[in-house]
């Protein structure tokens, strides 16, 4: 309850500062609209179904992209953590793929994966992959060698040691990666939408509002929606973490 109160208080302060800046600056609406203008535009976008039309697709891209990317990253991270050979062979490619800007890769992936929904999910998955895979690898290696020896003395096979010791030891670090990854998934979806030719998605809505309609309040509505999506997913990851990680 107190946490919620704190969040509301900080939101109120943010809105006050925003409003003050618009009053003092007296900017035109297409540069910086006042909060109530954005709110009014938001209500209209919701009531016409415009916002949900774009948000629903982006939401799906984020969920599927994050699930695919995180799933692949967990499996790869365990393999990287357990085998030095696997790490030596794979890590140059993983690091190189991460070092290439996603903004530059997205158009290419868009061509490869048919320029539609699938391409967007792939971009999302790719951007999510790196932090989670690396966190998993580091976490797997953080397992206590004394406990590992204890398990070996009891005849535990490699897969059993992974399940009983390495993954539970890695969980706090893995969740650090998931927290980073889930916010990146939101970025990935928008970047992918910018690179693709589709006509739906919050990224597309930002483009339309900004360049097509000069409807800056609508752009703010889209940005706020992305922020809310990011916060929500982040909060969900933290909730799961609280349930799974024994401290």
């Amino acid at each position: 309850m107190r946490r919620l109160g704190g969040a509301l208080l900080s939101l109120a302060a943010f809105l006050v500062v925003w409003k003050t800046v618009t009053v003092i600056g007296g900017y035109p609406v297409y540069i910086l609209p006042a909060p109530e203008v954005v709110a009014e535009r938001g209500v209209r976008a919701v009531s016409t179904g415009l916002l949900w039309h774009h948000t629903s697709l982006t939401l799906l891209e984020i969920v599927l992209g994050f699930a695919a990317g995180a799933g692949a990253a967990l499996v790869t991270g365990v393999a990287l953590g357990k085998s030095v050979v696997v790490e030596r062979v794979l890590s140059p490619y993983i690091v190189a793929a991460q070092a290439v800007p996603i903004l530059a890769l997205a158009p290419l992936l868009d061509i490869w994966f048919g320029g539609g929904f699938l391409a967007r999910v792939v971009v999302c998955a790719l951007i999510v992959f790196f932090p989670i895979a690396i966190a998993t690898m580091v976490g797997i290696r953080s397992a206590d060698p004394l406990l590992d020896e204890m398990l070996r003395s009891l005849g535990a096979r490699s897969a059993q040691r992974t399940r009983l010791l390495e993954i539970p030891s890695a969980l706090p670090v893995i969740f650090g990666g998931l927290r980073v990854g889930v916010t990146l998934a939101v970025i990935g979806a928008v970047v992918a939408e910018w690179a693709s030719a589709g006509s739906t998605g919050l990224g597309v809505l930002i483009n339309i509002a900004n360049q097509g309609l000069f409807d800056t309040p609508l752009m703010f509505v889209a940005l706020a929606t992305l922020a809310v999506l990011g916060l929500t997913f982040y909060g969900l990851v933290v909730l799961v973490e609280r349930r799974l990680v024994v401290r």
Binding site: E149, M150, L151, G155
Partner: protein, 276 residues
């Protein structure tokens, strides 16, 4: 009952001319054990004593199958041990409990790894916890246990499969002297119940005399057997066994052997000094 008690479930251990080296060849290479030969009869209680770093823990890891010797052979009942083959139980110097599991789940771990169903391993774990006087702590997590309770839990984990050979690596060394005496008495009781083969590593001469059939005194590194002292005191023995004249003599013999083993190590220095 034979005078030794029933040793039907116990197995003998033979260690023949074993050498173990650590590290890559070169000046940094450490020879932990060299030419170690030791015969541990089935159902006997053997205590290994020696200075720090003489390879006592290495010896236990060999018998547990966690380590293969570089030379010589280690046999449990004539067959080289493999970690987890169920013939050897090992309790480490530290409790090594899995922190995110309850005491009960920790104790049941060997059965879980063997694929035994949950209700059966739960029952067995409760029974074993009772044997070590820890039944009330079944649902506690390791961090909620005192040092002594954690050691009991670790002992229970080693006992739950009733291994024919039980290896104890200074399991009570972190405990205060009084608690330790209680543990030694309980250990003796547990051993008298089932008469499994026990190899216990310690630094403490009184503990060795209280528990052992035979005390194996090791040399400093590279470790080998310096001397074996047979302890022919009647059982059950109490912790103040040192008050007994014969026990005191045996303790003196062990101390003497330890001192002599050190002298072997020091002699080359003495010779060099004499030459200079």
């Amino acid at each position: 009952m034979t005078p030794r008690g029933s040793a039907s479930g116990a197995l003998g251990v033979t260690i023949d001319d074993v050498g173990v080296r650590f590290g890559v060849p070169g000046p940094g290479r450490v020879t932990a054990l060299a030419g170690l030969t030791l015969d541990v009869p089935a159902g006997s209680f053997t205590v290994v004593i020696g200075p720090n770093g003489c390879g006592k823990s290495t010896l236990l890891r060999l018998v547990a199958g966690l380590l293969a010797p570089d030379s010589g052979s280690v046999r449990v009942d004539g067959v080289a041990p493999v970690a987890g083959d169920g013939r050897v139980g090992l309790a480490f110097q530290q409790p090594r409990l899995v922190p995110w599991r309850s005491t009960l789940e920790n104790v049941a771990l060997p059965l879980e790894l063997a694929g035994i169903a949950a209700p059966r391993r739960r029952a067995a774990a409760l029974e074993t916890l009772e044997r070590v006087g820890l039944a009330g702590a079944a649902q506690l997590r390791p961090r909620e246990l005192s040092g002594g309770m954690a050691q009991r839990a670790a002992l229970a984990r080693a006992l739950i499969t009733d291994p024919p050979v039980l290896l104890l690596d200074e399991p009570f060394s972190a405990l205060d002297a009084l608690t330790r005496e209680t543990f030694d008495a309980e250990l003796q009781r547990l051993w008298l119940e089932r008469r499994r083969t026990v190899i216990l590593v310690t630094h403490s001469v009184p503990e060795a005399i209280t528990l052992a059939d035979r005390v194996v005194v090791m040399t400093p590194r590279p470790g080998r057997v310096a001397r074996i002292v047979e302890v022919d005191l009647p059982r059950p023995r109490s912790a103040d066994v040192g008050g007994d004249a014969h026990a005191a003599a045996l303790g003196g013999e062990v101390r003497e052997a330890l001192a002599a083993a050190h002298a072997i190590e020091l002699r080359p220095w003495a010779e060099q000094e004499g030459a200079a």
